[in-house]
């Protein structure tokens, strides 16, 4: 859970940094996208590793859930939590939501199935016009909203996930655990703000076609 989660977190951060080039204009984003495509084999290695991380993360979650349900066959009639938080209690639900978000996101921007009208355009230099695809998509309010909601779910998932990873990997101590929780929450918040800024900026015409 922790290892695969860390890898996925690394991807989320790198992906965010790449995405934020949209604020530097179409030239930068399209050039960045073109460069990524030219990594060729390396790109495919990264994709396979990421896919494996997703698979391991899901597999671990399923095994944990099954074992943990089995560990308490008779539930309490009255159970009053005293320490846990909503994010920790809903990791399974937010995980499933994130998986469906991921599928939609790939259908949208990678495979061009969800919104084919914005897919496949080329810019003046003959590169894939990622900038136009993103901006045209997020001009539709419900699409923009869907992405913001998706990132809110990711933020919620990460707010428990990051501090939890530090505990599982044995990095936490009595002093650092609250610190990790605060930093984890802050990173999750920054990731949410960073990603959400893109659809919001397009929606409010701050990033124009």
């Amino acid at each position: 859970m922790a290892g695969s989660g860390l890898m996925l977190l690394g991807f989320v951060v790198l992906h965010l940094l790449g995405n934020l080039t949209i604020f530097l204009g179409p030239e930068t984003l399209n050039a960045y996208a073109e460069k990524l495509r030219h990594f060729g084999l390396l790109l495919w290695v990264a994709r396979v590793i990421l896919l494996a991380a997703v698979a391991v993360h899901i597999w671990a979650a399923v095994v944990l859930t099954i074992e943990n349900r089995r560990a308490r066959p008779q539930p309490y009639q009255q159970y009053v939590p005293a320490a846990t938080n909503p994010a920790a209690l809903t990791m399974g639900l937010t995980g499933i939501l994130l998986l469906s978000y991921l599928v939609y996101h790939l259908l949208h921007f990678t495979w061009g199935v969800a919104h084919p009208q914005f897919f496949g355009a080329q810019d003046a230099l003959g590169r894939r016009d990622v900038y136009a695809m993103v901006v045209r998509s997020f001009e539709i309010p419900w699409v923009a909203l869907l992405y913001v909601v998706g990132m809110a779910v990711l933020c919620f998932h990460l707010s428990h996930g990051m501090a939890s990873t530090c505990q599982t990997l044995g990095l936490s101590t009595e002093r650092t655990r609250p610190l990790f929780e605060r930093i984890g929450g802050m990173i999750a918040g920054l990731i949410f703000l960073g990603y959400s800024a893109i659809p919001v900026a397009v929606l409010f015409r701050m990033v124009r076609p």
Binding site: A82, T84, L89, Q167, G170
Partner: protein
């Protein structure tokens, strides 16, 4: 005071249990929770009912026998105490109190509120000991122990093995118990010899007993009557990683 007590009744491990509701009369606010159950049992016997079976021993908060989930909290609403140190002044006249046993597959119900916690004994057998030369006591300063290590070991050794951590955990995990039992030995020089084997064997024994897995909710620390810290779980994870990667 008069109280409504909803309590889990279960004849034996095989029978499916159920809740029964009783009225406990003449309860003094000075009574401990277990004394309230004693009085209720007297009243049940007088009415021709079978008394409620519950575990108890020292009634001083140090033996770890009492094992009641009171109103949805192991050992009741107070922090850092066992059920025997909970007093009836925490409740009001006419309150309804729900009492359930620890609920975990690894802690099967023996009868009513009594559960079988021998799974903990088997985890201890797997490695919760140190090999020492028996005979006359060694000179106290032969093996120097740094003060911080001694303090930390004592914090972990405060565990009375009651199982409230398992009862409180959403996953019925025994990580806090195992972590404390590993830490109070690994902190000390005497615990180093068997350290790596101990970590692996006790974790394996824990998994074998059918406890759940830790997903870092920290309910265990909130319920622990000795307030054992979850830092010991992080250390167990660290030690386990190290023991499995560098055997």
């Amino acid at each position: 005071m008069k109280l409504i007590v909803r309590v889990w009744r279960q004849q034996n491990a095989q029978e499916k249990g159920r809740f029964e509701t009783y009225e406990a009369q003449d309860i003094s606010s000075d009574m401990s929770f277990l004394e309230m159950l004693d009085v209720l049992n007297e009243q049940l016997i007088a009415q021709g009912h079978e008394p409620i079976a519950f575990d108890h021993d020292c009634r001083e908060g140090i033996c770890g026998m009492c094992s009641l989930v009171i109103n949805g909290r192991p050992h009741g609403p107070d922090k850092g105490v066992t059920a025997c140190q909970l007093h009836m002044r925490r409740f009001k006249d006419g309150d309804t109190i729900t009492i359930e046993p620890w609920r975990a597959r690894a802690f099967p119900v023996v009868k009513d509120l009594v559960v079988d916690r021998s799974a903990f004994d088997r985890i201890i057998e797997a490695g919760g000991y140190v090999s020492v030369k028996t005979g006359s006591a060694p000179e106290a300063n032969t093996v120097p122990v740094p003060k911080p290590a001694a303090e930390d070991a004592m914090d972990a050794a405060a565990c009375i093995g009651c199982g409230a951590c398992v009862a409180a955990c959403p996953n019925a995990s025994a990580m806090l118990f195992v972590a404390a039992k590993v830490a109070h030995l690994s902190d000390l020089p005497q615990g180093q010899v068997e350290h790596k084997a101990r970590v692996q064997d006790m974790v394996q024994a824990m998994d074998h007993e059918g406890f759940g897995n830790c997903t870092n909710h920290y309910e265990c620390m909130a319920a622990c009557p000795k307030q054992i810290h979850v830092k010991f779980i992080a250390r167990l994870n660290r030690d386990y990683l190290r023991a499995t990667t560098h055997p």
